[in-house]
């Protein structure tokens, strides 16, 4: 018996990254910014998107791709809020979307008739951080019921995100959650992270959120340096909510 060595020297993410580059090219050619919403399960991504579709549906042509391990529940909820296509990807056990799934989902989307694309990733703060989907930016959503130290416990996700939404701020009077500490933890991991403080349930902070999305959808360049609301401004504006 002999043992032979097969040289590989292949980046583990190379294949996905190639597909993601293709997605990014398609989106750029059509001038469509794409936001990949990532979070732990239960942070409120779907309700935030429902409210977003309601508020911006008459001004922006928005498409949505949702990822779930099982069921189309999120896609069904979102489809009830828009006449436009909501593409459901059931990952059958995988803890994240990958670029091939997004590329396939986009085949059914008329990008020339789209202003903004949302990708609602599988609820998981680990795996989706490693997978580029060709998006313009990742937006990490976390909620005040989750603990302020999420950013340092899951640093890669917060490092890979350009924006953060701190959701469920209507619950702040009822939970031990210090917004300043949470923001400080996040900035320790990613000093450039821009924050939105929202309650998808009560509507608090949604004006800033939708203004940001609208400005991004109308921005000539898809890969600008940030949204209309700086993190400090956003945090100050919503403090004590």
């Amino acid at each position: 018996m002999t043992v032979r060595t097969i040289e590989v020297r292949e980046r583990v993410m190379a294949r996905n990254d190639e597909l993601a580059a293709g997605v990014r090219e398609r989106l750029a050619a059509a001038g469509v910014p794409a936001f990949n919403l990532v979070s732990s399960p239960g942070s409120g991504k779907t309700l935030l998107l429902e409210r977003t579709l309601e508020r911006l549906g008459d001004r922006l042509r928005m498409a949505v791709v949702t990822g779930d391990v099982q069921t189309r529940n999120d896609a069904d909820r979102l489809a009830a809020r828009t006449d436009r296509l909501v593409q459901a990807v059931v990952t059958n056990g995988a803890c994240h979307l990958d670029a091939s799934q997004v590329a396939a989902a986009l085949d059914a989307v008329d990008l020339e008739d789209t202003d903004l694309l949302f990708i609602e990733n599988v609820g998981n703060l680990v795996c989706p951080a490693s997978w580029d989907l060709g998006e313009t930016a990742k937006i990490v959503v976390f909620s005040v019921t989750e603990g302020e130290d999420k950013p340092v416990k899951y640093p890669k996700m917060f490092r890979m995100a350009r924006y953060a939404v701190l959701n469920k701020v209507d619950l702040l009077p009822h939970v031990d959650f210090d917004v300043d500490r949470a923001v400080a933890f996040a900035r320790r991991v990613n000093p450039d992270l821009e924050f939105f403080l929202t309650s998808a349930r009560t509507g608090e902070g949604l004006r800033e959120w939708t203004d940001f999305l609208e400005s991004e959808a109308r921005r000539p360049s898809l890969h600008g340096t940030g949204g209309a609301y700086g993190a400090t401004t956003g945090v100050r504006a919503r403090r004590g909510g």
């Binding site: 002999t2 097969i6 590989v8 583990v12 993410m13 294949r15 795996c127």
Partner: protein, 78 residues
């Protein structure tokens, strides 16, 4: 787990499905800034590489600097 599955896919690409039972070692380089939890990855790889279609392969993870994360080479019994 998804990263471990991707490593297995790369191994399969290089030896073919039939050859997976002969793989003995999968050597990876993982950088300290790769964002990979090495012990988790190792755990998942050990589970996958010791189950069909693999035979009794084991992962070897070589630490590196930076964000490198790649399959370096495979050792295959012939």
């Amino acid at each position: 787990m998804s990263l471990a599955l991707e490593v297995c896919r790369i191994a399969e690409e290089h030896v073919g499905t039939e050859g997976l039972g002969d793989v003995r070692t999968v050597v990876l380089e993982v950088g300290d800034d790769a964002g990979v939890e090495v012990s988790n990855l190792e755990f998942c790889l050990e589970a996958l590489l010791s189950s069909p279609p693999f035979g009794a392969a084991r992962p070897v993870i070589e630490p590196a600097t930076g964000d490198v994360f790649r399959v370096k080479y495979l050792e295959v019994e012939t």
